[in-house]
Symmetry: D2
Subunit: 283 residues, 4 copies
């Protein structure tokens, strides 16, 4: 990195996250999965864990299509207190069951430091959601954990703030951090958020951490997810976090942005060609 580059000042305030600490880039390895290497990693599954049948049928489908990690929320941060808040511990148990039956790794959100032990017992990868990107005491606790974590960009967070949030985790000793661009809040209303793919090269330039993209939240429309997924891989993403639901029309949350398994499968085949075109692979 050019130390005279003025586009971001994070190098002066962060120590562990900036790229010079690992110029060749970090690889976060979880079981048999390496995030940040040549392979583009697919993480897919429902927004929320709703039932055994829903989770397992979705899990089997995404596994067949090539996903390596199953996503699914047991603790759901919802704008309204009257919306479905997740199955909590029962949801975590279903996720662990899905892992046993499919071999997929599990990524799931932790919303509260008090849930960290519980979630860590069932998950392989923790997720910190956008609304908690600057929940600094949660970041500090995760810094002390020895669990890989996907840190999602806050919806109005600058790149510099995003990197400093990651620094909180690394400072605690946990270096297994994957950054996730998931769209930012702008004036545009036709999409749920504005997916900021500029963030991929900008993050890659300034940090050694792997970078993935969530095109489901980044657009809010299932029908746009394939195009933005291809764009993300073309721009250099190390993976994708995609909402897939066996019956999107019946989903308890985010149905309109969830792909069904058939569309996901088609998308993965299209993605494979794009990955090869940019010297990556997607088995």
């Amino acid at each position: 990195m050019d130390p005279s580059d003025p586009d971001i000042a994070v190098e002066s305030s962060a120590r562990l996250v900036p790229r010079p600490a690992h110029p060749e880039g970090s690889v976060v390895t979880v079981g048999h999965v390496s995030i940040g290497g040549r392979e583009v990693i697919l993480m897919a599954g429902p927004c929320a864990v709703e039932s055994e049948e829903q989770l397992l049928s979705t899990a089997r489908a995404v596994l067949r299509s090539g996903a390596k990690v199953l996503r699914g929320g047991a603790f759901k941060p919802r704008t309204s207190p009257y919306s479905f808040q997740g199955l909590h511990e029962e949801g975590l148990r279903l996720l662990a069951q899905a892992r046993r039956e499919t071999g997929l790794l599990i990524v799931t959100e932790v919303m509260d430091a008090r849930h960290l032990d519980l979630v860590s017992r069932h998950a392989d990868i923790l997720q910190v959601g956008s609304r908690n990107m600057q929940n600094f005491t949660l970041l500090e606790e995760i810094g002390k954990a020895r669990m890989p974590v996907v840190l999602k960009r806050g919806m109005s967070s600058t790149i510099a703030e995003f990197l400093l949030a990651a620094e909180y985790i690394l400072k605690g000793g946990n270096t297994e951090v994957v950054l996730c661009e998931r769209g930012i809040r702008t004036f545009e209303t036709s999409t749920r958020n504005t997916l900021d793919l500029n963030a991929i090269p900008m993050l890659k330039r300034h940090t050694h951490l792997p970078v993935i993209v969530d095109p489901s939240h980044g657009t809010g429309h299932a029908w746009m997810v394939p195009q933005l997924s291809k764009a993300s891989v073309a721009a250099g993403a190390d993976g994708l976090l995609v909402e897939v639901h066996c019956h999107p029309e019946a989903a308890l949350s985010d149905g309109e942005q969830s792909l069904d398994p058939e569309r996901f499968d088609l998308m993965v085949r299209e993605l494979r060609a794009v990955a090869l075109a940019v010297d990556r692979e997607l088995p």
Copy 2:
């Protein structure tokens, strides 16, 4: 409120926060202070509690000028993990000491549900900061507490989301909620945030809860605070939350947006005239 008003849909998803629940408006009473009545309430003090001398000299000054509540952070959410994070329990003890010596009520931030008991022992009013406006498990815990709370608007939160965050607290049984507009994140870079005074009448129309304004974070410049404070009162704010520091140039955080006691005192005198002009009072 006109139920056909299309500007915000919160009435359909919230139950306790919308104005029809208390058409005349709520008054949050804490000790001898009533927020939401005819009097405009001043909450003032340093961004962070730094030392006994700093806190007490600032407290005495703001009391003399007319403040009823002393603000001061013991737990500080900071963008960088290497910035001063507050004095924690020692900071809370100093706040309690300042209350004993001045009679001012204390408002201070709680960042984590695990600190709730500790903070509640020392404070009169809890503050939920912008970055935690959608920390839903924290909101739920505060909903169970029997403590007044100042809830600050998230920096990219819509009015509807702000009201639903308050609904989380009321749903738990705690009705003593004061909303605080503190500026939103926009493209404008000459100010730290864009203070959204449209929010005052919009909130007043849609909820019965009191509304105060933080012009210090809303502008980021001490020299602009008096004008925006006057504007806030003219627009109908029930109070102000203002950063005042006995030596702004030596402050460990937010010095550039902190008034010194002399400027604060002058501002209060100017505010008094504006309050009278809009049928409010500021003793």
Copy 3:
């Protein structure tokens, strides 16, 4: 102004607009009206000129309430080509008639350099709309004209860009420029725009030009206009540009943000008290 102030860099690129050129502030005088002096100037009238009856009845009403300038669009920039585009030359003639019958000065928008002569024959003050704030060839032509001009801030324009747009006009020799804050585009959707009252002290610090506020476009809701008008005067505005329509419910454009004459009259009385409270006057 403190030359070391880092909040805005316009002093380095502008020459005529920065405050040091006229430290005491400029006053733009048009006939018997002085903008930028002690008096707060009210400019009011319909969004668009629709008919002789509509314009004259509105003009007489705003005159009675204390307005000094009649606003009304003859050339209307509309998002859709199928919306009412204004009465064009006929609208200008009606404005001139309204001036003869009421003595009010006329401010009206010029959208195109080719209309400049025509509009100048009928108007006292030209208006450059938000969408044309960076229509640089139009600014250059207005710079050569000897007509006062109200320059509205672009809806995504920074303060620095706003000042440089004014510099285009002053550079041509026309120093009679009044800046108008009219709300910026943000993520908030409950209001049409976010009125940025931080802009008033920021502009006042960095330029000598008078600053007025358009609370009608800045909020998009007639019922919010009185509160934001009071806030604007409290923050230091030199005038207001307000949409008033004799029958808002029947307006061909912007009816939902137009006050009726009765509400406008009440608002002016409230404004008078606020003006006095900040050492201004509103006769």
Copy 4:
């Protein structure tokens, strides 16, 4: 298109631009170049025409790499009146000369309706810049012209507003319109704009017009242009508008976002593979 799709309401107010008017998509044909077909069209060249040597050496280089259209500004809209404003008619003559010597088509900006005849004599494709996207009288004049036009999205324009701006041109009878996403203004400051690639599928769904992307303005950093160009093609762009300068470090404008010919050539080779991966071609 599903008529019940709620993401954008443009179908109700536009008539000629919505996709149902040409469900199969429009192709804009200019000489031997077809925009909107299977081929991804490259438009490249300097921000501003500076000299014969600069323009011709850049033109020859981009032709060799595969560009079909030469971009270059003769009339430059600049934030400051003291910045280089372009060579005007001399710039147009140099563009015409470059066309004669290379066979490249010429796209160049028209800022003012009064320049339309002049620019049309020298250019093959007109460009309407972001700041003029809602210069409605200019759009109307271009609607009467029989010239292809690249319409750039305003920096704070919604998709719906963008489509209605195009409707102004089609309504006049000119159907040869190409839409250009060029980044929107957000809170993020590390990039000049936030390139909104969500706009590609959203526009493609709602209109039959071709869509291209300007990654140079969309990022503001030459080093990011290749990744975002690949992302744009992967997301379905029909072409790219890229700033290339033979000596970026000496450019009179936008040097920091201009590629040098070598980097552009390398990028085109990388783009070819991505185009094939998404069933497009780039000869």
